[in-house]
Amino acid sequence: MNASEKQELLQTAMRVREHIIRLATDGGCFIGASLSCADLIVYLYRRILNIAPDRVDDPDRDYFLLSKGHDVPAVYGTFAELGYIDGARLGNHLRTNDSIYWHPNRNIPGVEFHSGSLGHLLSVGIGVALDIKLRKAANRVFVMLGDGELNEGSIWEGCLVAGAHKLDNLVVVVDRNGFQANMRTEELIPLEPLEEKFASFGWAVRRIDGHSFDAMDEVFSDLPLEKRRPSMIIADTVRGKGLPSIEARADRWFVNFTAEEVDMLLDELHGIGNAALTSDTLHVR
């Protein structure tokens, strides 16, 4: 990745964050976690995934499965920037004339599978990866999990099964933003040491800074991490990344901002002032 490529990624990620912020009003969205995984999703679609808007049904494509479905604003923002959907469609958020709501669904071109209920898409990804193995094909399956999602038993069941079946075409990325819905993961159901946990299930594990494109390049450009093992990339991220006024805050999980707040946050994203947020801090969904 040269300097101009990196610059392009930074600019795309910035525009994706603008989309996410604009979706956080008139009904709102899960902004904190969308912002934490935005850099990873932009990077994967831009640099790693063998897929393109005109090849969303190509049987040889790489699969990206968003298991933590509430982060879909990051995917839709990326889709708008890369031409999977017309960006104007994001204006249909939470309107009944379109399918753009709080969780992903297959009415949106490029979405491989719906999610929303946590702990599902690792197993769906295992099925896709098993078929690819049966066909001796070369595509890869990327599954993004949330760290809070790791509370789900089905994740650990899937980790055992993927390890047993030596699915080295399966790559899991954990958006390790440190929070589950209402509090820090380590205050509720501690997850650490996470690398050791996954390694003991037979996975090849790396841990990176989930906001550093250089760090991503290092691990994602040479997959699988190990032959005959599924790959696990734990990406340390910041909830609400890019907006200091909500970064790493437990009470900005789901938000429904006013139009004025959105304007202030867009300024804040570009380093202009700090948003004076007045809307309710914690919506429980």
Binding site: S123, A129, D131, E157
Partner: protein
């Protein structure tokens, strides 16, 4: 009679159709000999029903038709949300085969009693539901179920056939005996007991219409509605909770078609059954042919208008009433 076994049919379907893959959560009793013949097209995920069903959806996304063989109770209960969410919402052609359903879990106890599986599976919008009467009925149905584009749940039943069967069609019932006195609607292996009851009741001068509802969803509304119209008493016979199964299906149909009838539900009324060997379970729970016949006679006896129909001097009547 089919000379084939379930295992041999799976082997044949897997060999002939490259879309078919077999999955299991280490429930190998009925598919023990498959591995050398189907190789890596048998995917055993170990005792992981959630992962199995989620992965079946992933395989179906790629064009496969997964035949998912597992114990009915853990398949439909442990993995329920995965079935509903990953298979049901997209309507993927995953074929769930639930082994030892209903009374067939005999001595296992309530943990293993799938007696709400029909209710759960029929509640998932695109899901088709089948309950073959015996091994022949199941082998007759499976190729058509696998060819259907919809997700399906099948109550596994490899018990030997007690009757010859008509060709299977999705959404069609099979009427085994004709009569207008009593209609016995049933599914699964209890057809055997329904036919035994029919023989006993026939000797009492009662003509019974025994209907094998091998396809529970879609259901054969026409055949059921005709039975409701024609027969003096309609019996639903099922090894399932009273709620959500055949009795509920009948009630819904009668309400929709504005039909009324005297109905005798023979089902598990809000309790699990007493575990024992199958024969003892049937005896204890009152699901043997003779117990069913007596329950029907009692129901008719309770209805004054129908009393003349009964032969009050018969041995069956005297023994049990």
């Amino acid at each position: 009679m089919h000379t084939m076994t379930y295992e041999e049919l799976l082997r044949e379907m897997t060999t002939e159709n490259e879309r078919v893959v077999i999955m299991t959560a280490e429930n190998r009793a009925a598919i023990r000999n498959l591995p050398p013949h189907v190789g890596d097209r048998l995917i055993d995920v170990g005792i992981s029903e959630m992962t199995m069903v989620g992965a079946s959806a992933g395989l179906a996304l790629r064009g496969r038709i997964p035949i998912v063989h597992a114990l009915a109770t853990f398949l439909t209960l442990r993995a329920f949300e995965f079935i509903r969410t990953d298979v049901g919402i997209p309507g993927l052609p995953v074929k769930l085969i639930g082994a030892v359903p209903g009374f067939l879990s005999d001595g296992n106890g309530p943990t293993h009693q799938a007696v709400e599986d029909i209710a759960l599976m029929r509640g998932i919008p695109p899901m088709q539901v089948f309950a073959p009467a015996d091994n022949d009925d199941m082998l007759e149905a499976l190729p058509r179920i696998v060819a259907s584009p919809f997700p399906a749940y099948v109550r596994f039943n490899a018990l030997p056939a007690v009757t010859a069967h008509a060709p299977f069609a999705i959404g069609k019932a099979e009427t085994l005996t004709d009569g207008n006195d009593v209609a016995i609607l049933t599914y699964g292996f209890l057809l055997r007991e329904a036919l035994a009851a029919e023989t006993l009741l026939n000797a009492e001068g009662l003509a019974c219409r025994v209907i094998n509802l091998r396809s529970l969803k879609p259901i054969d509304e026409e055949t059921i509605a005709a039975a409701v119209r024609d027969c003096s008493l309609v019996v639903t016979l099922e090894d399932h909770f009273l709620t959500g199964g055949l009795t509920t299906i009948l009630a819904e149909l009668m309400m929709q078609q504005q039909l009324t009838a005297d109905v005798l539900p023979i089902a598990l009324k809000h309790r699990w059954f007493t575990p024992a060997t199958l024969d003892r379970v049937l005896e204890h729970e009152g699901f043997t042919g003779s117990a069913i016949a007596v329950r029907i006679l009692r129901a008719l006896e309770g209805d004054r208008d129908k009393k003349p129909m009964l032969n009050h001097t018969s041995s069956l009547f005297k023994t049990y009433l």
